[in-house]
Symmetry: C2
Subunit: 210 residues, 2 copies
Amino acid sequence: KKAYVVNDELAENIRNKMKTKNKRFFNVMGSIGSGKTLILERIAERLSPYYKVFVINGDVATTIDADRIAKCGATTVQINTGGGCHLTASLMQKEFDKINIDDYDIFFTENVGNLICPAAWDVGAAKNIVVVSITEGEYVIKKHPIIFKGAQIAVINKCDIEGEDFDSKTLVEDASKIKSDMEVICTSAKTKQGIDDLITALGIDIPKRE
Amino acid sequence: KKAYVVNDELAENIRNKMKTKNKRFFNVMGSIGSGKTLILERIAERLSPYYKVFVINGDVATTIDADRIAKCGATTVQINTGGGCHLTASLMQKEFDKINIDDYDIFFTENVGNLICPAAWDVGAAKNIVVVSITEGEYVIKKHPIIFKGAQIAVINKCDIEGEDFDSKTLVEDASKIKSDMEVICTSAKTKQGIDDLITALGIDIPKRE
Ligand SMILES: Nc1nc2c(ncn2[C@@H]2O[C@H](COP(=O)(O)OP(=O)(O)OP(=O)(O)O)[C@@H](O)[C@H]2O)c(=O)[nH]1
Ligand SMILES: Nc1nc2c(ncn2[C@@H]2O[C@H](COP(=O)(O)OP(=O)(O)OP(=O)(O)O)[C@@H](O)[C@H]2O)c(=O)[nH]1
Ligand SMILES: [Mg+2]
Ligand SMILES: [Mg+2]
Ligand SMILES: [Zn+2]
Ligand SMILES: [Zn+2]
């Protein structure tokens, strides 16, 4: 129990600090390969002309994801957990201690690809976003209720390949059933469908696309 | 440390018992929605005319997977972990204690969808199989080396949708690099491509398809 208590206290600190400084911090969780990074690439492209974006990537190994997002205008840092299956508030704090928070406007963390363990570890974000993709099948939300209960936004990605094998309908219904105030957004990080809707749901203002 | 030691001793017990009784027990791990269940449905359909197959399904919630496989001729049981992110040897032993091992020939467990935690928990199987799908992107194996190091067979699934967005080439290369004796099999649980190859890699004899 002790580890969770310590973690949650630190998470609350982070949340308060970000609020006082009028910064926004979001935790992007989701299944392996659901499109978390490509979505963050699209968000970074869209926001970078107007805001300074900082992204903390979490993965067992490699810096592939941080490098991808860095090419889209955000400042990134990669945490390699070595085997750890989720990020924690203290891992966030360690990264925040290395930078000047005032140099940035919007902060994201891409959590480790896993729909179970990250649900139990509050990282101090203002909102939790959970990304799944239609290619994982129609039951993925029904089977992982806990992580969705702790989320404010459910993203259903890869909607560009909707068709004979895969569809979003059941996933949208299941996400909406989890909690009445859940924002459910269908996206395609490939075609950029839904990316502006997601940015709006995060409460970030940007000029409309041309 | 203690929990792992106890688990590994029990796993060794299970492995020895299965060997003495000349039964085969396989642990199917993999990413969420990679196709573990559909692959087991195909295997159950293919083996059930010749062998008695028993499948232990592990998921956070629901009995969806056990019910699907039961329709294909296997006897199944569903473990709901409630929030646990991996199966263990003691969870296997509990299920084996409820049945007569001699009533079956081949045993499978479908582990919880997760490429991290199950790597650390030996369940007593003769072989570990890890399933990923091409829709998760080309880096999924590079990013999760640990679970593949402990596997004998890497399955790359959903190869029927190979094309512009997704392909298997990098995944096959990465799986082969992890260890020289890794069996790498490309499958489509939808079209049944590669299912017989997988059954052969498990060391199970079946008559050729008509
Ligand atoms: N067709 C299609 N492909 C997508 C979409 N989003 C992501 N992909 C592809 O899906 C694969 C995985 O995307 P990533 O962005 O790496 O996914 P991720 O969730 O960050 O993956 P991990 O960090 O490894 O868990 C890549 O091949 C992407 O090109 C989408 O909306 N449509
Ligand atoms: N096109 C195609 N779809 C597949 C294939 N294998 C599985 N699917 C689909 O992928 C989705 C997930 O398949 P499942 O068999 O439930 O995957 P799983 O790995 O057991 O999922 P979890 O147990 O929830 O982690 C379903 O919609 C399947 O129909 C395949 O080879 N090709
Ligand atoms: Mg990623
Ligand atoms: Mg399954
Ligand atoms: Zn974990
Ligand atoms: Zn775990």
